[in-house]
Symmetry: C2
Subunit: 368 residues, 2 copies
Amino acid sequence: MTVSATGFTLCHVDASRDDAVTSIREVARRAGVSPATVSRAFSEPGLVRQETLQRVLAVAEELRYRPSRAARSLTTGKTGNIGVVVPDLGNPFFPAILKGAQARAREADHSVFLADSEENPRLEMELVRAMARQVDGVLICSSRLSEVELQKLLRDTTLVLLNRRVAGASAVQMDSAGGIRQAIEHLAALGHKRVAFIGGPAHSWSNRERRRGLRSSARAQGVEVIEFGPFAPHFEAGQQAADLVVAASVTAVIAFNDLMALGVLSRLADRGIGVPEQISVVGFDDIPMASMATPHLTTVAVPLEQAGRVAIELLLERLAHPGSGTHEQGLASQLIVRASTAPPFSDVRAGSRTVRVGAPQATSVAES
Amino acid sequence: MTVSATGFTLCHVDASRDDAVTSIREVARRAGVSPATVSRAFSEPGLVRQETLQRVLAVAEELRYRPSRAARSLTTGKTGNIGVVVPDLGNPFFPAILKGAQARAREADHSVFLADSEENPRLEMELVRAMARQVDGVLICSSRLSEVELQKLLRDTTLVLLNRRVAGASAVQMDSAGGIRQAIEHLAALGHKRVAFIGGPAHSWSNRERRRGLRSSARAQGVEVIEFGPFAPHFEAGQQAADLVVAASVTAVIAFNDLMALGVLSRLADRGIGVPEQISVVGFDDIPMASMATPHLTTVAVPLEQAGRVAIELLLERLAHPGSGTHEQGLASQLIVRASTAPPFSDVRAGSRTVRVGAPQATSVAES
DNA sequence: ATGAAAGCGCTAACAG
DNA sequence: CTGTTAGCGCTTTCAT
């Protein structure tokens, strides 16, 4: 036993292993039937006489036999596997989607290949390629690939995209624009006039979508928006951006995602800036823990797990009816407003009357 | 385009697909060599003349040919795949491990099969079985299976266990006892005399380990421990447990994991109980977001991603030298103490002298 | 309802 | 260095 700074190590000698994998022939022989019958017993039980079936199944059970999917795929052309690629497992957004995807795949008796592309387009490409021959189709979440690269993959892979659109691939989308609109309307209703947006990754499709929605909603609501970014979609980037936001003297900030929103909250707390009294913070994605961790975060929620399920659903559909064309499914977002995210009320002149609304205090600070 | 409460749906007609998968024969024919040569070109390039190699590779490239792992595994017996089973992807603990595992596997040119057992032993068993024939080995994280069931799996699968020990399987362990000891020593040093422990799942090996470590450390430090549980390892359980903890009038609480610790913090905040002024909270695992989300959480950190890497390392080692026996690797935990987790100082009589230490205020409240 | 035979894509001897 | 041959475990005609 070695003891080191990082832990300890132990070794044991081996026990024997019963490694012989039983093949279909073995089962056939022991059951007194041909391999073809055993095969049928597993794939088309209806074609086998009850009596024979029982016998075969019994022998198989005894020998702990399970058909080899790899071998089966050789003849059938179907692997029964599905690939899922995500840019970063460290971003809680993706495990949530993965969970739904995995569950739906299992219901359809499919296994899931997982790959983490580390936000790296090259790697993403390589990973999909590597999977390609072992899976029936691939779900790519928040792809960092360019349109042409995706088209390339599309030539020999059935693809479903999550948070991305490309001709020829089915897609699941979070309704970013709608979520942003809700956020802006919410902030406008609370009296905010000047709002910051902390942008996500440069090549992120979602980020473009969100900014697009942001601009039109902001115009419609008469809210001024100051944009920052691009930033990596991480907690640390949120901390960093928080200082820029403060310097911009806005009364509210919308972050590209919850991770960054948490970073903002953390940094604002460090600097003694009150949330929501001085600045309101809105996140995006509603990763479960963000809402748990702090009551001061308004967030745009998307049904992540459901998104994963739907994506796999689309993929399965696509595999079942290869000629049937692609589908796109949008998932609505929903702004989550919590008790402790409204600033104190104050009186505001609305047209000819004075109305009592939740008002951003930073404004009055600026005035004083 | 359909619009529904949850979103929208779109359909497109299909573009054509270039689905013909090129086989090794095709490449061989076009390169004017035998299939065996093509095979060698990919698996043992050294055995092929430079000139031929170039030609083969060129043709393969042009045809976008990649060898089929499934077919290859048929003859070689090795799949180049690794399975990873986790009890719940919703628990941030596991994605972190998964990330490391996935990265290490990729370095070794292995693909990863992922399965979520939903904390269900039956399902876990089934999933491992289903994977078994498609992978070279399986990493089971925090297995919920009994020892005999694991032994059963061990008969025909190479297993590596994370946070679990069983004869015949390599294992990676977080040094729970050490972490708990650090936590107790820390609390004792701050003057805590009465500490609550919120237990994890009933069948969790980690939970047993932590309780074991807890008892001995508590005894050594003269700290009284009140145990609660078992609880599901979730945020909500933490909220629930918080009330029990408060009723037990302790001055500190250690939670089975960070998720539960966050639940405790949330509930204490709801009830207006000060952390750490009235109760100190210690978590476990150091899932990245927990520490980010709140500055009031003392936590026992474990290098999660590294654990995943090491686990795969062990698995690969095992696969490379099948006869060489199992290994166990322990990963040390490290208590993370933050600025805002110490209660205010107060004077305490230590033997004959009076010492100034951080003191749990709840004690004095109880005294008043 | 069952069996015999051919072959899926690939590799592993064994010759040359 | 390269080709030939014989399967790996399974499914799938085509007979029976």
